[in-house]
């Protein structure tokens, strides 16, 4: 009998530590992102999930621990270093230049130049090619926008989010990280962004999704990484637990043992949350 080998995680961390003076933001955290999945990272405010994500995207250099990309150990010297390794982030405030058009935003910081002398000596931009490729990337993700030359500020919140996601997907080679993508959106637009995330995953690009929105997390995530007190409290499948149980794990009322069963850690809190051990 041969067992299928476990797939190599695309992005993995073991024992990450980061301290700021007396505060330990990351306290021996582990992390695994498997190929082709949407992994939601949830945790209460102050749990340290932002610090964890920053360490994984190069914005913060951990004091200890190991990060592996596709099995190879790696250290990031800064956010640009992570981008160079194919890890793209969609920030919560989108980081778009409002008065510039969609194509310009897609290539912001990575503009294409005309071939030959025009490109090298005169540094002329290849606007036509950028517009074409931007259109292709948007069409690839089935994002419907009438004109690519309209400025980003004239778009709705959901459309702007779609442009930011398309940009990250266009450049990402390994991972796309999304920080609270539906936080500022209404119901319909959230639905459209969640569909978009599904399409990204179906293209084969794994997604790390940071979110406070439990219904959205349960709708889209293949697995949920619950972060608590600077470490990974549990990584579970949303199909195996109820939303209330997951929230209880997040707050510490329940813990998950090795068999995947929940154990009441704090009976008062568990009772208040309406959950019990399985």
């Amino acid at each position: 009998m041969t067992a299928t080998p476990a797939p190599t995680p695309v992005l993995q961390a073991r024992g990450l530590v980061k301290r700021y003076g007396h505060v330990t933001a990351i306290d021996g955290a582990d992390f695994d992102l498997l190929p082709g999945e949407v992994l939601a990272v949830i945790g209460d405010n102050g749990a340290g999930k932002t610090s964890l994500i920053k360490a994984l995207t190069g914005a913060v250099v951990p004091d200890a621990g190991e990060i592996r990309l596709n099995g190879e150990p790696i250290t990031f010297s800064g956010p640009q270093s992570a981008r160079a390794h194919g890890i793209e982030t969609v920030y919560q405030d989108l980081a778009v230049a409002a008065s510039m058009d969609i194509a310009s935003n897609m290539f912001l910081g990575r503009e294409l130049r005309r071939p030959g002398v025009l490109g090298t000596a005169f540094r002329m931009l290849d606007k036509k090619r950028m517009r074409q490729e931007a259109a292709e990337h948007m069409a690839d993700l089935k994002i419907g926008l009438r004109s690519l030359t309209q400025s980003v500020e004239t778009l709705s919140g959901g459309q702007r989010q779609a442009v930011a996601v398309a940009r990250a997907v266009a450049w990402a080679r390994s991972v796309v990280v999304m920080d609270e993508p539906t936080a500022a959106l209404g119901v319909k637009e959230s639905g459209q962004v969640l569909d978009l995330i599904r399409r990204v995953r179906d293209k084969g690009m794994p997604v790390v999704l940071i979110s406070h929105n439990m219904p959205h997390v349960f709708e889209i995530a293949d697995r949920i990484h619950v972060h608590r007190l600077g470490r990974r409290a549990a990584v579970i499948k949303p199909s195996d637990y109820s939303m209330a149980e997951v929230v209880a794990i997040m707050t510490g009322a329940l813990t998950v043992d090795a068999a995947g069963d929940t154990v009441v850690a704090d009976s008062e809190a568990a009772k208040a949350a309406g959950v019990r051990a399985t």
């Binding site: 405030d93 778009v96 230049a97 510039m100 912001l108 503009e111 005169f122 540094r123 002329m124």
Partner: protein, 192 residues
């Protein structure tokens, strides 16, 4: 810095207008005939600079980065643009242009007058805002500025020829600025 530079010119020149400037300094004031009129070399330099920056801002990566920086420094930084370097670069270019402008001014008048150009500061802002550049950054074009410059220049010149006192010129130009900023605000609100 404006005050420092202002004070230094007055102290250095001892409030005197400096005449007898060496040839090369006023070379840009020399003219050449074109059709029935004479064009100064200074005008050619000005037009060349306008064309150069129109190109740089609209068709190079540097130009796009400058616009992005004006839109949102944080967004620019998150996209890999080196914002500190870029900011220093923009101010350096601006400094160079101030130097050229000073040369053009003394070439036009033939003397170095510490009082000269005092209202040009306000006029520049007026011209730039009239031309569509937003005071909040991120928006504008060199062509728009060129048109703004023509408007303010013709205005000033016309008022001068009419014999309107300098202080009224300043008043009218000031009203123009208010008008320009108001239009800028309204058009930005409409764009949203």
């Amino acid at each position: 810095m404006l005050n420092v530079a202002f004070a230094l010119t007055h102290i250095y020149s001892e409030e005197q207008t400096v005449s007898n400037l060496p040839g090369p300094l006023t070379a840009l004031g020399e003219t050449f005939p074109l059709g029935r009129t004479d064009i100064t070399y200074g005008s050619l330099v000005t037009i060349a600079l306008f064309l150069l920056f129109a190109y740089a801002l609209s068709s190079t990566g540097w130009g796009r980065h400058v616009y992005a920086l004006g839109n949102s420094a944080e967004a620019a930084r998150l996209n890999g643009i080196r914002t500190s370097r870029l900011t220093v670069g923009v101010y350096t270019v601006a400094g160079l242009l101030y130097g050229v402008a000073a040369l053009l001014l003394i070439s036009r008048t033939g003397v170095g007058d510490p009082q000269a150009g005092q209202t040009d500061n306000l006029d520049s802002i007026t011209a730039v805002v009239l031309g569509g550049t937003s005071l909040f950054g991120g928006r504008g074009s060199v062509l728009g500025t060129f048109i703004g410059v023509l408007i303010v220049g013709v205005f000033r010149n016309g008022l001068q020829l009419m014999g309107v006192a300098s202080i009224y010129q300043t008043l009218i130009t000031g009203v123009l600025v208010i008008l320009a900023v108001t239009v800028d605000q309204i058009s930005r609100k409409k764009a949203r």
